[in-house]
C-alpha cells in the first residue's frame, strides 16, 4: 500500500432489498480490501438504504473501487468521504463488570469524562452507551480495558458530508 493510505469512507445510497449488501461487500472483497466497519439502515427515501463502509486504502485503488461500486445496478449513488469533509459518528455499547480492585465509582468517573450514558444496570454489571467519532470510541474502549470491560458492541461509522467546510490553514 502506498503512502497516501488512510481510512476512507464510502457512503452509498442503495436499493433496500436482499442481496445488495452482498453485491457491494463481495466487490470490495474481490478487490482485496478489508472492511474496517460497515453500517446499514433505511435512508430518508422509503425503499432505499444508506450504507457506510470504512476501509484503509490508497487513493487510486479506492477511486477504482468507487467506480466499480457505482457500476452496480442496485446503487443509486455513491460518494467518497473522509473525516475532514464529513461528520462521522459511531455508537458503542460497552458492558463493564467492575469488581475489586476497580470500583463502580471509578467506572462512573470514566463515563462522565467521556459523556457516555449508563443504559443498563445490574448488581454485577453496568452497560454504557457512547457515541462520537471513531477516535473517541477507540480512546474510551482503550481506557475502559483497565476497568473490567466484559463486552463491546460497535455500530461502525455512519457519515454524512459536511455542507460547509472551512479550509484548514497550514
Amino acid at each position: 500500500m502506498s503512502q497516501d493510505a488512510q481510512l476512507r469512507i464510502i457512503s452509498a445510497l442503495v436499493e433496500h432489498k436482499p442481496g445488495v449488501l452482498y453485491r457491494i461487500s463481495n466487490l470490495i472483497r474481490r478487490k482485496s480490501f478489508n472492511i474496517e466497519s460497515i453500517a446499514v439502515g433505511p435512508a430518508e427515501i422509503p425503499g432505499l438504504a444508506r450504507m457506510t463502509f470504512t476501509m484503509f486504502s490508497d487513493y487510486s485503488r479506492f477511486d477504482q473501487v468507487m467506480k466499480n461500486i457505482d457500476n452496480l445496478i442496485d446503487i443509486r449513488s455513491v460518494e467518497p468521504l473522509e473525516e475532514g469533509n464529513a461528520t462521522v459518528r459511531e455508537l458503542a455499547l460497552v458492558k463493564f463488570s467492575p469488581g475489586p480492585p476497580v470500583t463502580r465509582l471509578e467506572v462512573m468517573s470514566l463515563i462522565e469524562t467521556f459523556r457516555a450514558n449508563i443504559v443498563d444496570l445490574s448488581p454485577e454489571t453496568l452497560t454504557v452507551e457512547i457515541s462520537g467519532d471513531s477516535d473517541k470510541i477507540n480512546a474510551f474502549i482503550e481506557l475502559a480495558r483497565n476497568f473490567g470491560v466484559k463486552k463491546v458492541a460497535r455500530t461502525g461509522a455512519v457519515a454524512l458530508a459536511r455542507e460547509m467546510t472551512i479550509k484548514r490553514s497550514i
Binding site: G19, Y22, N26, K67, D70, N71, I73
Partner: protein, 569 residues
C-alpha cells in the same frame, strides 16, 4: 399463463431465434413450454419459433451462446437446471464476462419454499454468479418473470455488454398468473451510455492533431461496439498505424497497410518495440491488461496515452495516468473524433512515421521446426489463412495454437475471429464455433484447437451431429499441453510436469464414432484438400494435424517483462 410460458414468450418478444441448453429437474416446466411452442400447441406471439440446441454439458451451452452473441451481435441465450447444471454454466459465464459478451443465462432453481434448505440439486446460483455477471435476478412471482427477462436483455446489451443470469424457482415456473410484458425497463442509476462529452472530444482532437507519431490501440471494445468501419475511417483519416490487443484482433483489417497486427505477450516484436516510440497512443476499448502491455511501468513511459472505454472503472485501473480519458461507446466516440479532426487533417502527411511503422510490418519470426516428419504449427495456421475465404469465421481454444493464430492468422473481415482472451478458457472454441454457425449458417466456421483443449468440450461433437451444425475443427496435435510445456521449457528448466497427453484418443476415430468426419493430414497439400472438403461437408469435420511437441510460440514477452524485452528465439 404459467411462469414457464412467460419465460418462453418473453424470449420470443426479444426476438430470440435459438437457445442453447440442457434440461433437468428444476427447469422442466420451461422445457415443457418450449415443447408446446415447438409443436405449435401453444399459440406463440408471432410465427417465429425458438430453436433449442441441446448441449452435452452446460459449459458448452454457455460457450455456444457466447459464440452466437459474438458472431451475431445479438444476445446469446443459454439454459440449465439448478445445482450442477447451473454450476457448470459458470465457466462459460465467466468467459463471457471477461470478454464483455452479451449472454443471458436462464437457470432453474429449487422451489422457492425450499430455497436455503440444501434441497436436492440446490446451489446458491445468484451468489455464485454475482462475481461473473452484470446482474443476477431471481424472480419469486410469476408476474416478475417477464420483467426479469426484459431487464436481463437490457442490462446485457447496454453500456459494457456483459452476461446476466435469471434464476427461476420451479414453483414460479409452474404457477399461473396474469402477466404483463413490459416494453421498457428503467434503472435509476443505470442507462445507456451518454453521447461522448464534446469538451473531451475537443481535447482529444487537439492532442491527436498535435501528434507527430500517433498510434491507435484497438481492443475488444471496438468489436463489441461494432465500430469496425469507424475505426478504419478514423485510422485512414489520421494516417495512424493501428495495433490491436489480442481481444481486438480483427477490429481492423490485418491486411490493411496501416495495420501493425497485435501487440502484447505474443504480439509482433517490432510492433511492441514501436509502441514506446509513438508520442500519442489512442487506446480504444481495451483494458490494457498485462497480456497486452507487459510490465505496465515500462509500457509507453513517455507517451501521451488517451483512453476511451465504455466502462469508467477501466480508466486508470491498469494504466494509471492517461492524459485524457473518455467514457463512451467506441462507435460514437470514433464518429465524434472523425468529425472533430476531419478539417484539421486536411492535407496532412506523415510520410516518415508511416515509413517507420511499415518497416515494422514483417511477419513475426517463426521457428519452423526442422523435424521433417511434422508440420509446423505456425506454418499450418499461415496456410489455413490461405485456404479459408476471408468471410470464414475462426474460433480458437487456448494455448499455443491460439497464439499462433494471433501471430499468423490475418483477420480481414469484421466479426470473423473469436477467442477466449480474458479468461483463457480451454474448451471455448468448439462450442463457440457451433454458436457462431447458428448465427452465420452462410459462412464456413472453423475452430482451431489443440489436442488438450479439444478434449475439454469434445462431446459437443454429439451436438454438432444431432443438431446438424457442421463446423470444422483443426487440431494442432502435439501430444502435449503445449503452452504449459513451453513455459516449463523456458522457466522451469524443462521439467515437464503433467503435460504429456500421449496419443489417445485417435481423433479421426473419435470423430467417426460421433458420426463426424475425421481426417489426419501430414502435409500442406493434404491440409488444403481436407479444408476444402470440410467446407463442403454436410457434417462436422475434425482435421488432426500432428505437429512437433517441441515447437515454441515465438516471439514471447516473458511475464513481468517490459514491452521491449521480447524473447525471440
Amino acid at each position: 399463463m404459467s411462469g414457464a410460458q412467460a419465460v418462453v414468450e418473453a424470449l420470443q418478444r426479444e426476438g430470440v431465434e435459438a437457445v442453447f441448453g440442457h434440461p433437468g429437474g428444476a427447469n422442466m416446466p420451461i422445457y415443457d413450454a418450449l415443447y408446446d411452442l415447438q409443436s405449435f400447441r401453444y399459440t406463440p406471439l408471432n410465427e417465429k419459433s425458438i430453436r433449442h440446441i441441446l448441449a452435452r454439458h452446460e459449459q458448452s451451452a454457455a460457450h455456444m451462446a457466447d459464440g452466437y452473441a459474438r458472431a451475431s451481435g445479438k444476445v446469446g441465450v443459454c439454459m440449465a437446471t439448478s445445482g450442477p447444471g447451473a454450476t457448470n454454466l459458470m465457466t462459460g459465464l465467466a468467459t463471457a464476462y471477461m470478454d464483455s459478451s452479451p449472454v443471458v443465462a436462464i437457470t432453474g432453481q429449487v422451489p422457492s419454499f425450499m430455497i436455503g434448505t440444501d434441497a436436492f440439486q440446490e446451489t446458491d446460483v445468484v451468489g455464485m454468479a454475482t462475481s461473473v455477471t452484470k446482474y443476477a435476478f431471481q424472480p419469486l412471482r410469476v408476474r416478475d418473470v417477464p420483467y426479469s427477462i426484459k431487464a436481463a436483455f437490457y442490462l446485457a446489451t447496454t453500456r459494457r455488454p456483459q452476461p446476466v443470469l435469471v434464476d427461476i424457482p420451479k414453483d414460479v415456473q409452474q404457477a399461473e398468473d396474469d402477466v404483463d410484458f413490459p416494453e421498457y425497463v428503467h434503472f435509476p442509476n443505470y442507462g445507456p451510455l451518454p453521447d461522448p462529452d464534446p469538451m473531451v472530444v475537443k481535447t482529444i482532437g487537439r492532442a491527436i492533431l498535435g501528434a507527430q507519431r500517433p498510434v491507435i490501440l484497438a481492443g475488444g471494445g471496438v468489436k463489441m461496439a461494432n465500430a469496425y468501419r469507424e475505426l478504419q475511417a478514423f485510422a485512414e483519416l489520421l494516417v495512424a498505424p493501428v495495433v490491436t490487443s489480442f481481444m481486438g484482433k480483427g477490429a481492423f483489417p490485418e491486411n490493411h497497410p496501416l495495420s501493425l497486427g497485435c501487440m502484447g505477450m505474443h504480439g509482433s516484436e517490432r510492433t511492441n518495440k514501436l509502441i514506446p516510440e509513438c508520442d500519442v497512443l489512442l487506446v480504444v476499448g481495451s483494458r490494457l491488461s498485462d497480456r497486452t502491455t507487459g510490465k505496465i511501468e515500462k509500457f509507453a513511459p513517455s507517451t501521451k496515452v488517451i483512453h476511451i472505454d465504455a466502462d469508467k472503472a477501466e480508466i486508470g485501473k491498469n494504466y494509471r495516468l492517461p492524459v485524457v480519458s473518455l467514457v463512451a461507446d467506441a462507435k460514437k466516440a470514433l464518429q465524434a473524433l472523425i468529425r472533430e479532426v476531419e478539417a484539421g487533417m486536411m492535407g496532412r502527411q506523415r510520410d516518415a512515421w508511416i515509413k517507420r511503422a511499415q518497416e515494422v510490418v514483417v511477419m513475426a519470426k517463426t521457428e519452423l521446426d526442422g523435424n521433417g516428419s511434422y508440420l509446423s504449427g505456425a506454418e499450418t495456421i499461415r496456410m489455413l489463412r490461405r485456404f479459408l475465404p476471408h468471410k470464414a469465421i475462426v474460433t480458437t481454444e487456448v494455448g499455443q495454437h491460439q497464439m499462433w493464430c494471433e501471430q499468423h492468422f490475418q483477420v480481414i473481415e469484421p466479426r470473423t475471429f473469436f477467442s477466449s482472451g480474458g479468461l483463457g478458457t480451454m474448451g471455448f472454441g468448439f462450442p463457440a464455433a457451433l454458436g457462431a454457425k447458428i448465427a452465420r449458417p452462410d459462412v464456413p466456421v472453423f475452430d482451431v484447437a489443440g489436442d488438450g483443449s479439444f478434449l475439454m468440450t469434445e462431446n459437443s461433437l454429439a451436438t454438432s451431429i444431432e443438431e446438424q451444425i457442421p463446423v470444422t475443427v483443426v487440431i494442432l496435435n502435439n501430444r502435449m499441453l503445449g503452452m504449459v510445456a513451453q513455459w516449463q521449457r523456458f522457466f522451469y528448466n524443462r521439467r515437464y510436469s503433467a503435460v504429456h497427453l500421449g496419443r489417445s484418443p485417435d481423433f479421426v476415430k473419435l470423430a467417426e464414432s460421433y458420426g463426424a468426419e475425421g481426417v489426419r493430414v501430414n502435409t500442406i497439400p493434404e491440409l488444403e484438400t481436407a479444408v476444402n472438403r470440410a467446407i463442403r461437408s454436410p457434417v462436422t469435420t475434425v482435421i488432426d494435424v500432428p505437429i512437433s511437441p517441441e515447437e515454441n510460440v515465438l516471439p514471447m514477452l516473458p511475464p513481468g517483462a517490459g514491452i521491449k524485452e521480447m524473447v525471440v528465439g
